[in-house]
Amino acid sequence: MHTNPLMDVLRDPLGKAGIILLAAITLMAVFAPFLSDYSPNQYTGEIFSRPSAEHPLGTDSVGQDIWSRLLWGARTSLAVGAAVALISTICSIFIGATSAIFGGLYDRFWMRIVDAMLAIPAIIVMILVAAYLRPDLLILVLLLSAFSWPPGARILRAQTLSLKERMHVSAAATFGAGWSHILKRHIIPDLSPIIVAVMIADCRRAIFMEAGLSFLGVSDPTMVSWGKIMHQSLQFTYLDVWQWWLVPAGIALSLTLVGLSLIGFSLESAMDPRLASRPRKEIGGGSDA
């Protein structure tokens, strides 16, 4: 059966919802400078001002425009998410695929590392490291990537292994095809939806972790981030400022994560036809096959 899971996501209502959510947040991030008159770290002269035409979401405890901080926060989140997804997935592909292809001691070495890293609660280690380093954006991305690659590597290794065993790949090998041909024509195309799924999972985790670390207050103080907004505003729940300060940041963060979850879920369902929510037409029953 020939399927293209990536296209199925576009047809699935959940997948569509996820893509729309993510697109909206991306637009916010891209057009941030045009959507707000203030720079996010600029003191506007007024603290705790209520929402107005001037400040759509008012100002915070140090007089910064909350709306522009929200927009720039989207930039941070998406930048972190995208960068980590890219770096970590490349590591996952490289380590996963080479382990599967070379096997032997090399494979055992990497899988031991992967297993050990999977056993460690990554966020805990991140907190510890961040507490010492107070990382800026670049260090944060590298740190997150360093802890994000193992699950993806495991998945891609398993998938490459099973592809390697599949008949059409062995058949290609019997035509005398070399590894580069097999990789290009048979493995990568079959792997691509899984790579996308791994990227989405990495991206989601990175955005979540960045927000969490900022929420704990252990990231670089100059970074504009939704987690940081929530960290700052949580101290003021006794005032009604939370309505336009705390909640919008939380919602923006949540919707980004939900969007990614929906796309990921939809993609996974599309890749596993057994989970398709509509029963497929089955003629003649299984045992005839």
């Binding site: 609660p121 805990i124 490291v129 010492y132 969490g212 949580l234 949540s254 939900v258 990614l260 979850s261």
Partner: protein, 327 residues
């Protein structure tokens, strides 16, 4: 089928993970620029420290000696259960953590139990009714919910029930100075627990539900379900005894994988509700840069997670005869 965990080798993995964490704890402060004692103890401590104390500590950690001696000193300290001294709380780190730990265990443990039971039950029912309104509704709503970061769910519950409706306490685990005992005390604890617990359960529920549901859908397509139906088994027998039991296996595995999430989730949610557990402790130690305490907490959490994972592995062997007998 679902026996994804090799029973062997896991123990070694946990050991490796533990060694990695110990090493990180040892290396990180010593890699920081400047005075290592400063890095180990943080800003607050240095202010309060007398030169005698500094000399004693330098001696204790063997900071003026090569790394190998430093590591020996560090490891022997750990082995004796010495996690260091918190200058912020002016007490042994282990004592401080032990004071907060019961609350975290209460919160995380209850959340784990409730979320697993509820998620599995919903997953089994939903998977059994694949494609029907209940299934679709549950998928969409729980997917949506589990996308939310745990601390924000906590914040929302706090704002709605605590701030707006005023039906739940805003912070703490008990009403201060109430002097309540017995049942009244238990009710007070429950009253304080309900919001953080709900937040944690709500966030964790989605993952457990979705996994059970998907496993259930797959298991229902397996041939032994048809065999059971041909025997004349009732719907409920098929749903629980045959499909349900087989769907539990990956859930058990996933529960192990989920422990770090639940524990860290509990830490974050405690911060939101100022719940006096390890999470709040972590938050204040981070604010105060009380490094010994931060290290102690993280070490403890890691050990807890690894131990729990080991427990899950053992449980899995009891549940799946294929793993039990294969080795």
């Amino acid at each position: 089928m679902n026996a994804s965990r090799p029973p062997h080798g896991n123990f070694i993995n946990y050991l490796l993970a533990l060694v990695a964490i110990f090493s990180l704890n040892f290396i990180l402060p010593r890699m920081m620029p400047g005075d290592p004692l400063h890095a180990i103890y943080g800003d607050e401590a240095l202010v309060a420290m007398t030169p005698q104390m500094e000399a004693y500590l330098t001696e204790k950690f063997a900071l003026n000696q090569p790394w190998s001696s430093q590591f020996t000193a560090y490891a022997s300290g750990l082995l004796q259960g010495d996690l260091g001294y918190s200058y912020y709380y002016k007490d042994q780190v282990s004592t401080v953590i032990m004071g907060a730990l019961p609350w975290t265990l209460l919160l995380a443990g209850l959340a784990l139990i409730i979320a697993t039971i509820l998620g599995t039950a919903l997953g089994i029912e939903s998977g059994y009714r694949r494609g029907r309104p209940l299934d679709r509704g549950l998928i969409a709503s729980l997917m949506f919910l589990s996308g939310f970061p745990d601390f924000f769910v906590g914040i929302l519950l706090l704002l709605i029930f605590g701030v707006c409706l005023g039906v739940a306490p805003l912070s703490g685990a008990t009403t201060p100075y109430s002097g309540a005992t017995g049942l009244a005390y238990a009710l007070d604890v429950a009253h304080h627990l309900i919001l953080p617990l709900s937040a944690l359960v709500l966030v964790q529920l989605g993952g457990i539900y979705l996994l059970t549901r998907n496993t259930m859908v797959s298991v229902l397509k397996e041939r032994f379900i048809m065999t059971a139906r041909a025997k004349g088994c009732s719907d409920s027998r098929i749903r629980y005894e045959h499909a349900g039991r087989n769907s539990l296996l990956p859930v058990v595995t996933a529960t192990g994988m989920r422990l770090p999430q639940i524990i860290t989730g509990a830490l974050f949610i405690e911060i939101v509700f100022s719940y006096p557990g390890v999470g709040s402790l972590l938050s204040s130690s981070l604010d105060a840069r009380d490094y010994p305490l931060i290290q102690g907490i993280l070490l403890l959490v890691t050990v807890a997670v690894l131990t729990a994972n080991l427990g899950v592995d053992l449980l899995y062997r009891r549940l799946d005869p294929r793993v039990r007998y294969a080795h």
